[in-house]
């Protein structure tokens, strides 16, 4: 079934992500505290990027008591700073980085129908973007590329 390079978003992928984050934290001496692990699991268990408040709700359910926004935002900051997560700017949501450990600019493919995202990398796009910006006298530092459309599954369904 699975080709060498697929974009299936199976639960196994996300579990993999969680394991890799764990590994990275070990390597870099970052503290993967109980709270962080809990948020990690919530994110790993989601099929699509979650908003901060969705995480707050999930966490509150699990803990049986209300969790306040700063608690979750701090955790998200930790993940973002360490490159474990990308913020989906057009949706105010947070998606696991699918290329952990590689220095990269992600390109996010966002399905308009099912809401799932896929992250791809393209050095060529990155380069061309740099160049194109440079032609306008602009020196690029950071880039955000989000593409909305239909994922493979939803494309077939439609």
């Amino acid at each position: 079934m699975s080709k060498s390079r697929d974009h299936s978003h199976a639960a196994s992928d996300r579990r993999d992500w969680a394991r890799q984050v764990e590994k990275f934290c070990g390597q870099r001496e970052l503290q993967l505290t109980p709270l962080r692990r809990q948020v990690l699991d919530i994110l790993a268990g989601a099929q699509a990027p979650l908003g901060a408040y969705a995480i707050i709700e999930a966490l509150s359910r699990e803990q049986g008591k209300a969790v306040a926004p700063p608690t979750v935002y701090r955790t998200l900051d930790f993940f973002l700073e360490n490159g474990f997560l990308h913020k989906v700017e057009s949706r105010n949501a947070y998606a696991p980085c699918e290329h952990l450990g590689r220095r990269h600019h992600g390109i996010l493919l966002i399905c308009a129908r099912c809401g799932r995202t896929d992250e791809i990398e393209s050095p060529r796009v990155d380069e061309m973007l740099q160049e194109t910006a440079a032609k306008a006298g602009f020196s690029a530092q950071r880039q955000m590329v989000e593409v909305e459309g239909l994922c493979e599954a939803c494309g077939k369904a439609a």
Copy 2:
């Protein structure tokens, strides 16, 4: 001084934008009402993309009484739907489209220092993005490309 293709963001550019919007509304029988014209002028008078609440404040000042959010958001929707404005997703702000009348995906260059934006077009980037997405089984419909860095002026200053 000015080359055939510059990105100066002079006040004249933005005034030009306002005139063109006016023209388009005439051509397509879109109503450029007093409220819309007022918002248009506020946007045209800004040096950098404005947030909705900045527009609300400007409008409230001009009208001498409080203007409520829906009033402005509806106006923004009108401009967005007709392609007069781009939303800067990474900043929750709204920037004049610098390529009115052309069907295009804008690439926004956002200066981290002065906050101004420049919109450029690149069919090559667009194509490559389409292709790259297609390779992942994804059919792209809309794309948001935002690049943060230093504009020409700020680059020289630094």
